[in-house]
Amino acid sequence: REPETEASDVALLPSELFAARSRCHRIPARGQKDFLPDGSALQRERLERSLEEHWSLVSEERVERLGALVQAEWIPSKRVVELRTPAGKFWQTMGFSEHGKQFLLPEEALYLMECGSVQVFLHGLPLSIQEGYEMFLSPSTVTLQQYEVFSHLKRLGYIVTRFEPSCVLSHYERTLNLPVQRDRQGRALKRKRNHEAKNQRFDPENHPDSLTEEKDQGEVEDKPVAMESTSDAVLARNWWVDRSPRSPMSPTRSQAPRWDFFTITFPDLGARGPLSPLVAPDPTVLPGELSVSECELTPWLQRLNLRKERLSRREQEREQARRRYQRSVNDDKEVRRCGNWAEYQELLRRRRRHHGQRDRPPHLWESTVKPLVQPGQHTSPGELLDKISIIKPSRLLDGAARLEEGADEWKISFDVFQPDTVAEFKKSKPGKPYSRLCVCSFEGPVPDLRVLKQLAFQSGDIPVTFAVVDHGDISFYCFKDFQLPTDVSH
């Protein structure tokens, strides 16, 4: 193909071609920044020189071998670009096949045009970059900001594909490890959500309907035992239903208690002396046909571990220190004066009241709202922390399922894969992306918790990164779910 026969491109003279070939491809080094303009001629000259270098670099015309360019055609009705000549290296990560023909998505085509790998025609005429921008980018395909993010990441080597919501596996589906079948345009086949078509994979015991119910109404569970717990819940519910006539809540309270504790003795099994065997209980108190004979205690006691514990030296010392300050409750004269449990309780109450002024000041403890904990009433710091933990933590996915679909401004646009996975990347089976991108403008609002939850729910288990575009400058921010660990530092 001779350049002259193409009706389009500027034909280059051989001299120009040669000049382009031998042009220095080095990017001019920029040197150190000056912080303030100092008005000197030297600074001005340096600035001018660097600006000129910049300008000449930017105004260079790209020269490509026509043979290396892949020819393609823009199809406005379908908003895709169809390749007319076979694809090059970019085919590994971009484009899709349909009916035996190769296609490119508009953003991919525009990017390749800018790279100089593809020449796109429309009605027989090649499109310029500007026309490409005008035609390929639109709210129905990919907006300019999204394209800026796309091309920024592609230039750095990342693999960027469009996000398909139906491709997101729910946790349940992930545990099944089903192969993902993609259709022509890379969209996964929409699987029927009620799983009836794939019954042979399930155990007949697990009720699929109740499981979907669980999923729809409950929150997305992250525990890997989600399946077992739901099935247990199902079984549990049935069990309850079956046995409700015999449930313990059925009213028997009106009857007098059937056990007379004054005649029932509780033997002291801890006593060291010889123990008499336990007598058989009164058959009237036993349920049903049960009959119990006398019980010999010695074989049981032999099974108990009554060996003396062998402590290490440090533990022994600790025990000694502890025992030194231990006061047996029976040494207390006042306690010995108590005749029964009620009197002992009264003594305790009296003592507490005596300390009351000091430990429990009435203005705190006698009013409507009381403190959560009383000083000196807990045994360990962990217990104290438990008692004051009245505010529960929340996870990002809690309640995310019931939020309605958000407005159009916040949606996930792309999947991003790491650059070092290029070699093994397969378009048919891309695997889990590194992150999902939501593109927004720097002038726009910052996402609040509601948006974060919606996007986290849409994305499944892949983190969502926000690409904030400020007229070509892109910053990426992540908002990640976090659980502050409890620190019981003793």
């Binding site: 904990v373 009245i390 933590p393 929340s394 910052v446 620190d487």
Partner: protein, 434 residues
């Protein structure tokens, strides 16, 4: 993964303090029933909550790092001077004479403001600022001039007998002085020739026979008095003696009573105060000598500080996780989270508290723009902390009536989010920099 990775807190290079405990409450194994107070006292002064009793200050700050000393950077360790010198048996702070004069002037102004006559004030101050003689020194320069409580008028002929002939307080056995006693000290003759003041003015560290009995001779007067060593111009005849002591030439140290003591309090923020009262029950807050109930306190704090319920919920949550939240005003946020306490670790998180309702809409307290969020992120990154957004979620059916009581805390939930910036250039991905 979707969840942020927990980075271990960074320990400080030099830790000077020892960890006493997470909260100023005793465990029931020890402490309970002991002599220390279980409920500390604070007062409301000018709409601020302050703890005044030094013992209470020590307990409340020492365990849990609640509050801030009003005259200090954080720990209430204000002292009148950084330099200390030994004087008799104690170490007293050394201040310049101009500073001492300042204190005298303050005392004078205070007394005048109380309506006393000028002559009366002058007389009082005159008595107060008399130099206190050093214990054990021959009282040549400072003939006893009726100072408060300085009762040493015993003579100093200590070298003659094994026991010094002074009267002793508390009837304690004095430690026999062997130095200078010819029966024990071979250098006794030499010792007698040395200047008395020199000997007693210098400090020997653990020298055998070093005079220790002066401890018991002159008990301190009333406990409220603070003694200071004032640097004053020395008179000529003392110069020589002083130079051998190693003091600065021309300066002698005179012990005087500080007429105007500046006492430091511990100031508690509303969240800290409410936590100590409500969650731990170990603090009582008094207003005009009247103790306040928890409901009163809640009302007072809610009206004094907007959004107190939200910030308090976040504070309570972090405390119940065992972290120490301190004010985040230094870095433009609401809290800084420390593990164990500021002396041990650098702050790990810089927290911004936000309030959301039942449908998770919010951002009312501090509406962010990307610009302000980027700026805050940058600052937080520069000081090696992580920016955390803490959303306090209130259920949709929480009525205004319930909000008027602190019991509404039990229905709130907290969601933590870590904000981080991802740098796309391949060599530096912040997420993987661990």
């Amino acid at each position: 993964m979707t969840e942020a990775v927990f980075q271990a807190p960074k320990r400080r290079a030099r830790v000077y303090e020892s960890y006493e405990g997470p909260f100023p409450v005793p465990l029931c194994a020890d402490g309970a029933g002991g002599p220390e107070p279980l409920v500390y006292r604070a007062d409301v002064v000018n709409r601020h909550v302050v703890v005044r009793d030094p013992a209470h200050i020590g307990a409340v700050y020492g365990k849990g790092y609640f509050g801030k000393g009003v005259l200090s950077r954080s720990k209430p360790q204000h002292s009148i001077s950084e330099r200390f010198q030994r004087f008799g048996d104690q170490r007293l702070p050394v201040i310049s004479s101009s500073k001492y004069e300042q204190h005298v002037n303050w005392a004078r102004e205070l007394l005048l403001a109380q309506g006393l006559d000028e002559d009366v004030v002058d007389e009082m101050l005159q008595k107060c600022v008399q130099p206190v003689p050093e214990v054990g020194v021959e009282e040549e320069e400072e003939e006893g001039e009726g100072q408060e409580g300085v009762t040493c008028s015993e003579d100093r002929s200590a070298s003659t007998g094994p026991l010094p002939p002074c009267g002793l307080s508390d009837g304690e056995r004095p430690k026999p002085r062997r130095q200078g006693d010819p029966r024990y000290d071979p250098l006794a003759e030499l010792h007698e020739r040395m200047d008395r003041e020199t000997v007693d003015g210098t400090h020997f560290s653990r020298h055998d026979g070093r005079v220790e009995q002066e401890d018991r001779r002159c008990p301190l007067p009333s406990a409220g008095c603070q003694y200071v060593l004032v640097e004053e111009e020395a008179e000529r005849h003392e110069q020589a003696a002083l130079e051998t002591n190693g003091h600065r030439s021309g300066v002698r140290l005179v012990c005087r009573i500080n007429p105007f003591q500046v006492i430091e309090y511990l100031q508690l923020s509303p969240e800290e105060a409410f936590f100590l009262v409500y969650a731990l029950g170990c603090l009582s807050i008094y207003y005009n000598e009247e103790p306040l109930t928890i409901a009163n306190l809640w009302e007072m704090f809610c009206s004094a500080q907007p959004n107190f319920d939200t910030t308090y919920a976040a504070y309570h949550y972090f405390r119940s996780k065992g972290w120490v939240p301190k004010t985040g005003v230094k870095y433009g946020t609401d809290f800084l989270l420390y593990r164990k306490g500021p002396p041990f670790y650098h702050a790990s998180y810089s927290v911004v508290v936000e309030k959301v309702d039942g449908s998770f809409r919010g951002a009312t307290l501090r509406p962010f723009t990307w610009r302000s969020l980027a700026a805050l992120n940058r600052i937080t990154g520069n000081v090696s902390k992580e920016l955390m957004l803490c959303y306090v979620i209130s259920p949709p059916d929480l009525s205004a009536e319930e909000r008027r009581s602190p019991e509404c805390m039990k229905r709130l939930k907290v969601q933590e989010i870590i904000v981080s910036r991802w740098v796309s250039s391949r060599e530096r991905t912040e997420q993987e920099e661990i």
